[in-house]
Symmetry: C2
Subunit: 323 residues, 2 copies
């Protein structure tokens, strides 16, 4: 599972950080998934290997502008490129109204269908051949969700001893069973893939949070999760000065939660535009890392635009090449 940050700034863009967007894929960039779509997401994508033509679904955490204002441009550009594949938009109902009003008032039309799926539905569940997605209600100024991505259809290993013992000779059926398909033999026997194969590893599970002032809401979802990507808008002292109104998390809060949940990997993102990345800048972005490291002993990363990560099958998280 690989993902690339398209934006890591909260509220407004800075010269080095765009507003929120995350590109995620399971095995190569076809298909891929977009989580949130701040203004300029289509511009950022031009500097990655992801194309709107192969985008399978967009998951929106909540309706704030820095998470959705890139949708109109992304959707209409895909149309100008001639996309015909349907696109799933998983989002609160207001995003459907925003998109429809935008299309209606800008003389736009799309060359492909949009399937709107209500992210706030109590029974929300989405899947394709690679991933299953559920979500968790967070605490923010508007309804907001974290998305939980769990991989599906893991590789299977054939139990060759059992196959041979049952007199099933090597052939195309073995391949079908290994791919998880049940097989009907000419003699009428039905062979169940589950009886002749086993999955030799555990599915990777990662959580992509939205804006949230109560990381503890993710406690249950984090059981067995290998990675959490969560906002850390401020250091604790700034959060205290700003007060509770914005309903964001501090680095300390998230780090404490991740530690108590036993999460092996934590990536912080969605930093207030006040934090500087340039050497000597103040307040410096490293203050967020320093604060988090005091409370979290797992593998910690601070996201930067265009940084690409891979969550390996053994659950280690690597940062690959950046921009």
């Amino acid at each position: 599972m690989e993902f690339t940050f398209l934006g890591t700034s909260a509220g407004t863009p800075t010269r080095s950080r765009n507003v929120t967007g995350l590109a995620l894929c399971h095995t190569g960039p076809k298909p891929w998934y977009l989580i949130d779509c701040g203004e300029g997401t289509q511009h950022q994508l031009m500097r990655t290997r992801y194309s709107v033509m192969q985008l399978r679904a967009v998951f929106i955490t909540h309706i704030h502008g820095d998470h959705i204002f890139g949708l109109p441009g992304l959707l209409t550009s895909a149309s100008m490129l001639g996309r015909t594949e349907p696109l799933d938009i998983i989002a609160p109902e207001q995003v459907r109204r925003f998109i429809n009003a935008t299309i209606e008032n800008s003389d736009s039309s799309l060359s492909y269908p949009l399937n709107f799926i209500d992210s706030e539905a109590p029974d929300f569940y989405w899947q394709d051949q690679h991933v299953a997605v559920t979500n968790i209600a967070l605490s923010h100024r508007v309804p907001c969700r974290a998305y939980v991505f769990t991989e599906r259809n893991l590789e299977r290993q054939l139990n060759q001893g059992k196959l041979m013992a049952d007199g099933i000779v090597a052939g195309p059926q073995w391949g079908d069973l290994q791919k998880g398909r049940d097989v009907l033999l000419d003699d009428g026997r039905l062979l169940r893939s589950d009886d002749y194969t086993h999955q030799y590893r555990t599915a990777r599970k990662m959580i992509v949070g939205g804006d949230n002032d109560t990381p503890d809401l993710l406690q249950e979802a984090c059981k067995g999760a290998h990675l959490l990507i969560h906002e850390a808008t401020y250091t604790q002292d700034v959060a205290d000065r700003v007060g509770p109104w914005p309903q964001h998390s501090s680095a300390q809060q998230v780090a404490r939660f991740a530690h108590s949940a036993g999460l092996p990997n934590l990536v912080l993102t969605h930093f207030s535009s006040r934090y500087q990345s340039a050497p000597g800048g103040s307040p410096h972005i490293n203050q967020l890392a320093a604060e988090a490291l005091q409370h979290y002993k797992g593998h910690l990363f601070l996201a930067r635009d265009f940084d690409t990560y891979r969550l390996e099958k053994d659950f280690r998280l690597h940062r690959l090449n950046g921009h």
Copy 2:
């Protein structure tokens, strides 16, 4: 009068050109005017000297997405920065609906008032202390306008001989008269500025076109104009291949028109994303310049993102530093 291109690509952004936006000012960047606002305009502004805090008015030529999708982010970012000054939005009625639907469905609110002014009203006229603005209906797939900017309140020269002959001694009144203000003397005499001063130069006049397949519509407006900024989406051969549907102009069409209108300065912009700027790229952007030069003998420029121009008081057009 100075202006900076924030985007020079038609329809979709490219890696080196954003979609349409132009920053214009009369005397320094406070106040300034924005003509069109494609997605990413606020990002481009971060690389110029223009701030949304000093923006006086936004002029929208037409409702297509590549000219308006940057408005939601620009307006809400100005609010997050604490703007309180009212902002004029001169645009077709649908832009008001687009902005209102966006604000409503994204839990946004603005810290300052928006004044929507219908750009399609038959008696459209706008002014501040620096410029007077009228507009001209163009021919495109949707109603579209060119904006004509003419400077106001030109410097006046005192007729000192007449002042002294009339016994008006040098003092603060001279300053008032020179600034165009009439003065009431203690003895009851009313001195009219127009009687004691004269404007020693002609007002600069520049036209910023929108999308348009019929440059001739600007014939009347171009009389006495010193500069036209106009789209040239294609070379003529590409325009012929694409056919009339998009309702854009070719470089040849605009150049011929500018020549017949006797325009001293012409800047082409809004180039199809197929045109490449890198050496060796094909089709190359220089094809547009080469075509225009065959038909236009005035001062021709091809716009690039972040290029800044100054229209001097003697009506010469200079390209200043770029990015």
